[in-house]
Symmetry: C2
Subunit: 322 residues, 2 copies
DNA sequence: ATGAGTGCAAATACTTTGCATGACT
DNA sequence: AGTCATGCAAAGTATTTGCACTCAT
């Protein structure tokens, strides 16, 4: 897994060198290797120190020059955390994000917030700018420092995996809410045929939720230490809640009576909404594991609806199949 | 006006010097004066060039040192716009804000967005950080550059005044929406006494709107060139719209019948909501003209309600007073 | 008169450039 | 063989510090 990724990035670098008539050297190889195997936010000096351990006679200028190439081909990304040093972080398959820096212990939290991006986009458009890029740094005091707890040793997480973890968690939360909605709607529905479809939807959704959970378990299994990683994808629960209504909102004073057609329409609308939402989410990110989670989820939502809809078209008797 | 502000800032600087056992010199005076009279985002070199015009033998070190003092006492604020230079902008009575920078012509738009701040606050809290400060820089291409229009000469606006202008505009927009709401509610209301109160509310609100407009006119009169200044306070219309409902939402299928008591309750709720919203807004800013607009508006909302409410308590016949 | 302020030059910190030598294709 | 890369030293940029002299309190 890790090896595969390293290889991909190495390939990318060599391709970049080839395309620009640049030469492959041991120094570049070593600098790339050490950069890729070190998570976190390295200054040139930091990386130089690490590189020097393996090759005493390498010069810091070469580190500067190599980092410039790595930035140009998208493997590294320059960041400024406010201490006057240019720092570098992994860029390849690592989504754009922002930083919260503890002013005391200099711990750095990385996060991405689609809501924040949305608000920014609106503002930029309002001023008739075409947005190119943006940077947000937030400085604060972390809970550990505030409570005078010992500062935990800095850990670099694989943000690719953390992002995938959070994407799965987000999908699961949406699924859980949808299940609650359909279950409650089924219980309230006075129309027997409509109720049967709602119950079928609940089953399909539960299967989907179980699949998501098993994906998450696999991921956590493979990526040891992932449990400790802070949330990377900051998702706004209110957006989810807005998307899937309370089942009680279906009732308009009278008893709920949703026939098969109404139920299918409702289910299609919700599936489409969720699918669009996740597709839109995916568009915000470049090729990453988290993005793939979103795309798959969007497709599965539509697939789930089709399953339910196909089943509803079967003869009425088919309420206990197989 | 301008002189008064300059004097205030000068006083503040001298007080700072006194309190720190530092000495007043011609060089410091000159640097302060030129800084205060120059809007925009000055680098040390920029300011040095301006200062040198007036005093050939001043040294750049003195500019560095004086800017440090000005920053310490809150007259100047360091900013980084991504070009590697430390730039300085006015800080005294100038609210915290963010920057949108055109990557082509380097035009800078300053803006503040309460919604953005809210989202950020939520995120920071979510990671258990106590927020200290944050910086957001957005890079993009401005409309002028995109359409290959000549770049208008850079203009420095007095952001204190621009902020006040936008605060007034925001208040007026809210007021306009409220008037629409009450007018429409009056037209729909079948209850005569309730309608009379609604009509009175409309009158009071129209008076308030006229006052706001006259404040805005005064401001624009005094601050020539303010028309051209881009919006500084970026307010989200949806928040306003959420706050004041559509009058049609009052109807629940049947004809609208709101008695005096119901109308007063409604008016009080809305006035309180608007007042709280603006108070909360004001809390986000340090002592500025814009902040005072918010506070005054918040108080006037409550005052308006009291006027309406007192009037409603008069004998019923009092529908054509004086 | 005391002590901070000033302006010069020198130092510092980070980064880039020039150049002779060495390494890749 | 030719060209790019490397590592050294040197230069560059933004800012700070040391110091002798000046000026404000």
């Amino acid at each position: 897994m890790r090896e595969k990724k390293l290889k991909e990035e190495t390939e990318l670098f060599f391709a970049y060198l080839r395309q620009n008539g640049l030469k492959k050297t041991n120094q570049k190889d070593l600098i790339l290797e050490i950069f890729l195997n070190t998570e976190g936010h390295l200054s040139v000096e930091d990386l130089y120190a690490l590189v020097k351990k393996r090759d005493k006679k390498i010069g810091i200028v070469t580190v500067f020059r190599t980092l410039k190439s790595l930035t140009a081909c998208g493997i590294a990304r320059e960041i400024a955390l406010g201490d006057g040093l240019t720092r570098f972080e992994h860029s390849y398959h690592h989504p754009h994000h922002h930083h919260i820096v503890c002013a005391e212990c200099h711990k750095v939290i990385e996060f991405v917030s689609p809501e924040l991006e949305r608000v920014q986009d609106e503002i930029v458009r309002n001023y008739h700018f075409r947005p190119l890029r943006h940077r947000l740094q937030i400085y604060g005091i972390c809970a550990d420092c505030r409570e005078h707890r010992p500062v935990p040793e800095a850990r670099g997480y694989d943000s690719e995996k953390v992002f995938a973890r959070d994407a799965l968690k987000m999908a699961m939360r949406m699924k859980t809410r949808a299940i609650e909605f359909y279950r409650s709607a089924a219980a309230r529905n006075q129309d027997a045929a409509g109720r049967a479809i709602l119950e079928n939807i609940v089953k399909v959704q539960e299967k989907h939720l179980a699949d998501l959970r098993s994906d998450l378990d696999d991921l956590m299994e493979k990526g040891k230490g992932l449990e400790g990683a802070p949330m990377f994808l900051h998702f706004d629960l209110r957006e989810l809640e807005d998307m899937i209504p309370e089942a009680s909102s279906l009732e308009t004073g009278q008893a709920l009576k949703l026939g098969p057609k109404a139920v299918l329409e409702l289910a299609q609308k919700l599936a489409q909404k969720a699918s669009d939402y996740f597709k839109n989410f995916a568009d915000k990110f470049h090729e990453t594991q988290g993005r793939r989670v979103f795309i798959r989820f969007a497709e599965e939502e539509i697939g789930n609806y089709q399953k339910v809809s196909a089943r509803a078209d079967e003869p009425q008797s088919a309420s206990h199949p197989n």
